[in-house]
């Protein structure tokens, strides 16, 4: 049987993370792009597809393919931009572009200066925003706290169990030179810290930082033209919940389970085959939910699963081995993709997951939609 043609990642790059004053998001995106091209071992003239992403808080052409392409000095055959182009969704568009022949070599890049620009995250954006703001339900942390409170009520999940999301990721971050928060944090430190929006604490909420990440995608029959060992996309799935406020159990996001089942069916990979999982973590609650919906444990069992240490260094399911958005940087899961690729290539030094061959990259856009990808150095 012939091996199917797949989309493959053949280059990754990341800038420094933290505070990058004086550089626009687009400049940071271009710097990340050049690092990814260097990793891929190609010149920018070989790029015939460009995908950028921007935030809802950017204005004008900032963050668009127009602006970034001009700065990077390329005329690719195909280009596009995702608003809220968080990584998993952008990655799937790149795969569609190379598998349909719209492009052969797609560069994806994201830059953010939201820390230096002092972006206001206290404002609710999107449907029903003024009503939620009037109620005082501001910042994603409030809605995540409601999701956590509901989980605790239904399943007896404790604050200590939830705390292991952040503590485990901090343990990983301590071994990652790129990570911003590397100082030790024990579960006692976590529990002793004050609430921000109960039942959540500071460590349960994403940091805000500046930085850039970029990725190069091609087809699996073209990977010999690139320097690194390729990482193939063995399966992709998405699911939306666009009815949003009208969906019952909106906070619990049960549709992620639908997504996961499609992903496993399409890829022929099951949760037990996954060596490392990258679960987008705007808040720790997202990780708690995705452990269940991606079937690493039963629904309602993520609390005990976390407390048993499975996601920690040395555990049975390493999760967010870069430290994630809670400890590494605010990169919308782009750095989790960067980390997944480098783990599968065996480049992660002290925090390398021994023999890692299959990784899950799981993205969500809050309560609206999700994207999951199975990544592997194996092509089938």
């Amino acid at each position: 049987m012939s091996v199917p043609i797949r989309a493959s990642i053949v280059g990754v790059g990341a800038t420094e993370q933290g505070e990058i004053p004086g550089q626009s998001a687009d400049i940071i995106a271009v710097r990340a792009a050049r690092l990814a091209l260097a990793d891929a071992g190609i010149d920018k003239s070989e790029v015939d597809g460009l995908i950028t992403c921007r935030t809802l808080r950017q204005s004008g052409t900032d963050g668009t393919d127009e602006a970034v392409g001009q700065l990077l000095g390329i005329n690719p055959a195909y280009s596009t931009t995702l608003v809220y182009g968080a990584c998993g969704f952008s990655l799937h568009i790149a795969a569609m572009a190379v598998l349909t022949g719209l492009a052969n070599t797609v560069l994806l890049t994201y830059g953010s200066n939201q820390r230096s620009a002092r972006a206001n995250f206290g404002v609710t954006i999107g449907g029903g925003a003024e009503w939620t703001t009037m109620a005082g339900l501001v910042h994603i942390g409030g809605q995540a706290a409601m999701a956590a409170q509901r989980h605790m009520h239904l399943y007896g999940t404790t604050e200590e169990q939830l705390g292991w999301v952040s503590v485990a990721q901090r343990e990983w971050a301590a071994m990652n030179p790129l990570a911003i928060f590397r100082q030790p944090m024990s579960i006692d430190d976590y529990l002793a810290s004050p609430y921000v929006v109960a039942p959540l604490r500071r460590a349960d909420l994403t940091m805000i930082s500046d930085g850039g990440t970029a990725v190069v995608v091609t087809r699996s029959d073209r990977v010999s033209g690139f320097r690194p060992r390729p990482v193939h996309l063995l399966g992709m799935a998405q699911q939306t919940a666009l009815r949003n406020d009208q969906n019952p159990d909106r906070f619990l996001r049960p549709w992620i389970g639908t997504l996961a089942d499609s992903l496993y069916a399409r890829s022929g990979i099951g949760p037990g085959d996954i060596d490392a999982a990258y679960l987008q973590d705007a808040t720790s609650v997202w990780v708690l939910q995705m452990l269940e919906w991606y079937r690493f444990c039963g629904v309602g069992e993520a609390g005990p699963f976390l407390a048993e240490g499975h996601t920690r260094p040395g555990g049975s399911l390493p999760v967010n081995t870069n430290g994630g958005q809670l400890s590494e940087a605010y990169m919308w899961n782009w750095l989790q993709l960067y980390e997944a690729v480098r783990q599968l290539r065996g480049e992660c030094g002290e925090r390398q997951v021994a023999g890692a061959e299959v990784a899950l990259h799981a993205q969500t856009h809050d309560f609206v939609k999700g994207a999951g990808t199975i990544l592997s150095t194996r092509s089938e």
């Binding site: 206001n120 995250f121 206290g122 404002v123 449907g127 029903g128 003024e130 009503w131 939620t132 703001t133 009037m134 109620a135 005082g136 339900l137 501001v138 910042h139 942390g141 409030g142 809605q143 706290a145 409601m146 999701a147 409170q149 509901r150 605790m152 009520h153 239904l154 004050p194 609430y195 921000v196 929006v197 109960a198 039942p199 959540l200 009815r243 406020d245 009208q246 906070f251």
Partner: protein
């Protein structure tokens, strides 16, 4: 502090005004689709179930069940600096729609699933907010 007041509704907005006209009289009202009768929240110009444009406003019972809640110990938007600590809940109305609102009372122990009822809380001479408190009302 200038510009640091809690947000108030725009009473010139036809999607907003009928709600606050009712709360000033101690009534809770939501939009009902003119065609399929779906009760919707938050307000909007089109029915999200059958896509009919237009609606009536109908009174609903000011009672419901607390789906979940969160207590802000820090003002994640500076306009709420004077309000913290405060608690916001999602209430499933006995008549169907789900609605966010400020909660009055003690939420340190688990109150998810508790019966709640509306408290009509004047905040300016023109604006009465719907807050919620424990008990069947």
């Amino acid at each position: 502090m200038d510009g640091q007041r809690e947000p108030l509704p725009d009473l010139s907005d036809p999607m907003v005004a009928p709600f606050f006209a009712a709360t000033a009289e101690g009534r809770l009202t939501v939009q009902r689709c003119a065609d399929c009768g779906y009760l919707r929240w938050p307000p909007g110009p089109m029915c999200p179930r059958c896509q009919t444009i237009g609606n009536d406003w109908v009174d609903v019972r000011p009672t419901g069940t607390l789906y979940s809640y969160a207590t802000y110990h820090r003002a994640l938007n500076p306009v709420f600096t004077d309000a913290v600590p405060y608690t916001v809940g999602l209430v499933e109305l006995d008549d169907g729609p789900r609605m966010y609102g400020r909660l009055i009372g003690d939420y340190e122990t688990d109150r998810v699933g508790a019966a709640v009822h509306a408290v009509f809380q004047p905040v300016t001479p023109e604006v009465t907010f719907v807050w919620w408190t424990l008990g069947p009302g």
